[in-house]
């Protein structure tokens, strides 16, 4: 049999997985603070007789090496809602239990603390930030004022290696690493739009689809060749 058919197959499977990434990015094109994902592929050598990989005949298959998050910034959209808060620059809002987010679409939870829509408390310099009063103002350095009295400052942290951040539901990330203080300014009344660019995703999705079709053609060609070998050779 031709091994080539499996190489084409591995490529086709990857293109299907690539579709999942496009779907995820496009589905979240209007999710505040969403960061688009990128997929990376790598080739690997077909092991010969189950021995460790050897570079011999130059035939390689391909598999996913990683799915990375592109942390480039989304544009800031003005809402005038006092609890829409954006990080203008690098960094994440620190949440309780080593969780972090760029999605500053906050609310006040049932206990009166500033929290995400998923009920995770936002941490300030001195723990959760209680917001109980008549009005809330947040200045550029992240200090929170309730009725003109300071109740703490938002804790904005950044990470040197963002690749270790694990994604959770609702634009929330988690990691065991301790972040460094970030140099960012805070904009109250704004939220950060998703950084997905529809045109790019569309073009790449189409490319992926056509590549998938090429793999199909390759598989069919190998199939034809095998068919000829088994049916037509020896007919005289």
């Amino acid at each position: 049999m031709y091994k080539g058919i499996y190489i084409a197959l591995s490529g086709a499977i990857l293109k299907q997985k690539h579709m999942d990434i496009f779907a995820q990015n496009i589905a979240n094109a209007s999710t505040p603070g969403y960061k688009k994902e990128r997929i990376a592929f790598k080739d690997y050598i077909i092991p010969v007789d189950n021995k460790p990989p050897v570079v011999a005949d130059g035939r390689t298959m391909t598999e996913i090496s990683s799915i990375t998050t592109d942390f480039s910034k989304g544009s800031l959209l003005r809402t005038d809602n006092p609890l829409d808060i954006a990080v203008n620059g690098e960094g994440f809002f620190a949440l309780e239990d080593n969780r972090y987010t760029r999605n500053g679409n906050f609310k006040i939870d049932s206990e009166g603390y500033l929290a995400t829509q998923g009920d995770i408390k936002v941490l300030g310099s001195g723990g959760p930030i209680a917001v109980q009063g008549k009005k809330v103002d947040i200045n550029e350095s992240g200090e929170v004022f309730v009725d003109d009295i300071s109740v703490g400052a938002l804790n904005i942290v950044d990470f040197q290696d963002k690749g270790k951040l694990r994604k959770l539901e609702g634009g929330v990330y988690t990691t065991d690493e301790t972040g460094v203080e970030a140099k960012a300014s805070i904009s109250q009344g704004y939220y950060e739009a998703s950084n997905v660019e529809a045109v790019k995703e569309m073009v790449q999705m189409l490319t992926s689809l056509r590549e998938f079709e090429s793999y199909q053609k390759a598989i069919l060609a190998f199939d034809d060749a095998s068919s000829k070998a088994s049916n037509e050779l020896g007919k005289g």
Partner: protein, 262 residues
Amino acid sequence: MQRSLFIAATGMEAQRLSIDVISNNLANVNTTGFKKSRADFQELIYQGIREAGASSAEGVELPTGIQVGLGVQPAAVQKMFQQGDFVSTGNNLDLVIEGQGFFQIVKPDGEIAYTRSGALKLNSEGNIVNSDGYALEPAITIPPNALQITITPDGTVSVMEAGSPAPTQVGQIELAQFINPGGLNALGKNLFSPTASSGEATTGNPGADGLGNINQGFLELSNVNVVEEMVNMIVSQRAYELNSKVVQTSDEMLATANNLRR
């Protein structure tokens, strides 16, 4: 089956909700005291395939993991409480609040609801009520022989009575405010009820603590900005379309795969 099909379906569902919200905003573009809503979205859970920091077969730590997202879900539909434009009506009982406050209205079940709509009326007993006949809280009764009703910016209600040279004070309007009005629960009929997220109402006389002054003879229009809603509608419709293209592309891929067997 292909995951992207289901992911794109969540995206279409989310944009459909967004269009629902926009159409409600547009339908209420001329509703007095109406506050527009906004649909907020967040990502669904991620499926972990390989952890970042795990070891590869060669014992090397892998710098990045593989997590596949499963789409999007609505996080909240929240009310936006920016002030609407004022329009002069000349009607004595049309009131606007120039600030963050809400009028307090007693519902038939005795609970207090809050509204920005100051199109007030008198009922047959002379009580000040809203358009649905629910009484203002604290209750104010206008005497039957009143010639003119005057409401000052600080909420004092006084009337000129026939045969009396000076106005008589008949009541005081109190306003309520919330730290997070976005967390209020919309009851319909322009009314809102407090939730754990909005916080408890703090009440006071108009003009104090950012509650806002009352202006007599004006109404607050809805805060819906038609151009903004149209732009949002275009964005949502195109996003819906974009997601449908993902469905279509995934479908084509599956068809291509099916065509492997001739």
